[in-house]
């Protein structure tokens, strides 16, 4: 396969302009912007590419839940999200894997939102969109793993434990313990 090129002056100018553009985006990407304060910009961030992939290890939130049936005490804390098995077909289509990645994205978002809660307003967090989504996620995972007979008069609680990527979950610390919710 060969390419035919006619590189005239205007094309050369175009290349030079884009070379400068490349230098500018590389320079801008080295600036560390910690947090986008505008929620509107945050929601439209698909329009502003960021290429800092796998930059550094970070604290990863791990989700746990526990269930209380009837008047019994709460059971043990259980991991809410289970790792998937790899499939060759996931190269073509990977809805399950991408949903799990979206769940982890939600956990990350909850952690970010918690950091922006002002002192003294922690109680309001349980009414935030992130918290409510997390509650729905845990409820969904519990319902997927138990029979309908077990659902009656059941309640659940969840917690987020922050763990440095690659480290054991025991080394982490709890950053959020939820209220009790009816199943």
């Amino acid at each position: 396969m060969t390419a035919n090129y006619i590189v005239n002056a205007s094309t050369l100018n175009l290349v030079l302009i884009f070379a400068l553009y490349f230098a500018a985006i590389v320079f801008l990407s080295t600036l560390r912007i910690k947090y986008v304060s505008s929620r509107k910009v945050y929601l439209f961030r698909s329009l502003f590419p960021s290429w800092r992939f796998f930059e550094d290890l970070s604290e990863l939130p791990v989700l746990y839940h526990r269930v209380r049936k009837g008047t019994k005490d709460f059971g043990d804390w259980m991991p809410s999200l289970k790792p998937l098995e790899r499939k060759f077909s996931s190269v073509l289509l990977n809805p399950g894997g991408n949903r799990l990645l979206a769940y982890y994205g939600l956990l990350q978002q909850v952690e970010n939102d918690m950091q922006s809660v002002e002192d003294g307003a922690e109680h309001k967090f349980s009414n935030s969109v992130s918290y409510l989504l997390l509650e729905r996620l845990v409820r969904e995972q519990i319902l997927l793993s138990c029979s309908h007979a077990e659902e009656k008069n059941a309640a659940f609680q969840f917690k987020l434990r922050s763990v440095l990527q690659g480290e054991s979950v025991e080394s982490g610390q709890d950053i959020l313990v939820s209220l009790e919710h009816d199943l």
């Binding site: 929601l43 800092r52 790899r86 894997g97 991408n98 982890y104």
Partner: protein
Amino acid sequence: MDFSFSNALLLVERLIALAVLVQAGELLILRNSVSNEGVWSWEVLRREFEIFSKPTQRLLSAVLAYPNFVFLLLVQFGSALVTLFISHPALILLMLVCHVLVCLRWRGVFNGGSDYMTTVVLAALLIAQLFQGNELVEKGCLIYIAIQTISSFFIAGVVKIGRNNWRTGAALRGFLRSSVYQNPAALDKLVNRSQLLIYASWTVIIFELLFPLSLLNQTVCLAFISLALLFHLANVYMFGLNRFLYAWGAAYPALYYCSGFVGT
């Protein structure tokens, strides 16, 4: 085969249509997650959009609430399917608008980097289509896609080489251990071999930093694209990032075309 800029644009268009087709298809399979009973119920999410004006909120509710959102995904799927065979600016515009709305429904992005690259390619294609016949604009769009592709590797390499834990292999070990997939025992053993991790980390860093050399000539470019495809496949296996393969795959014809400029 004569690989002119119009051929390059056409190939980019067909491949991004395939990427959008896969993305929309996956979300259609996951439509329960956005239903009123699902995790991402619009009834909960709509509060996040109260920062917009009332008319904008009404408009967003009309498009993003369930089951209308499923209709939006079907439109996205349909426009991508047609674009596999027919070129028209309206189809590119439809795919771009649907893509931005889908990202909005997932609070900004659904799959991070692949969403960014899809936006880059669709936006550039739309401009190229709107200025069809204007060679300078069409070439400019290809160069834009090529530069974003190179940046995606180069910037990732720059930020990694600045990190001590990447240089020692510790970061790679951490990322591999925190994958959403069960690691087979053999892979766990490999992850615990420090020397191997150092080699693997430096291979990734050097490959990403050298990626701008793909512009040297088309032979070098093909070599880099082949390595990049292997890199994407490894990422699918390790982290489940299949969407990256499609989104970046759509950008590579633009890179290949532009690699001829420097060589000429």
